[in-house]
Symmetry: C2
Subunit: 140 residues, 2 copies
């Protein structure tokens, strides 16, 4: 039935995924939202316009990201990683991350494509989670 | 760009979904896991074998469930509901819920199919969340 994934197997799920479900805690309550991400082997990178998600992570930086591969109800893998939210504020670093997101997600909205070229655009918040724990389960 | 859904629109997303991402809080940290569910207009019903998810919700019953409909990166809807975890322990109620889950998810594992017939099976934990708040966002 269900089995635990090794850390290496869970990392594979994270590596091959593009969309995950971010979990954070807002005023003691859970909050879940899907995000696009890229992964460099150590950290998850993503970006967002200002809003509840950013406010939540600024207030309570402990976050998780769940990523799944579902073939069917009997064959799936799900990884869960933990990290702390950090904003990337150095313009060259922001531009670098946004460019990589644009390569991975060519269907970024026009506003986001502009932001990738102009890292000084004030609305875009670029962030990462340095992963410090990773687990996973599978049914195979 | 992104717009808020009305409560009625968010309920539509919940009604037409079958899989959601459950968020709960475990020792102050967020935890996210995909679940199958059914919805009767007021409550979300699901079931699970014992484990971290059940332990977490027993310790901290405040949960959320996020459900999405994604057509593409420019056209999607996502609903988020909140409720409190409650276990369904009356055997006839458990059997009733498990039977409905079995109709909706005919690919339940053999063990779960047996449980649907035998609500006294000790391993199956049947639960619901009575929804008390629902929000949603969309890009259209």
């Amino acid at each position: 039935m269900t089995k635990q994934l090794s850390e290496a197997e869970a990392l594979e799920v994270i590596k091959s995924g593009k969309v995950g479900h971010l979990g954070c805690v807002v005023n003691g309550e859970p909050y879940v939202v899907p995000i696009n991400y890229i992964f460099d082997g150590n950290s998850i990178y993503s970006h967002s316009l200002p809003g509840l998600k950013i406010d939540a992570m600024r207030a309570q930086p402990r976050v998780c990201l769940q990523v799944e591969e579902i073939e069917n109800n009997f064959r799936w893998r799900s990884a869960l990683l933990y990290g702390d939210y950090e904003e990337i504020r150095v313009p060259s670093d922001r531009r670098n991350v946004l460019s990589k997101l644009l390569v991975e997600f060519p269907s970024l909205t026009p506003v986001e494509s502009v932001m990738a070229k102009d890292a000084a655009a004030p609305d875009s918040i670029v962030f990462r989670f340095v992963i410090d724990r990773i687990t996973g389960v599978a049914e195979e």
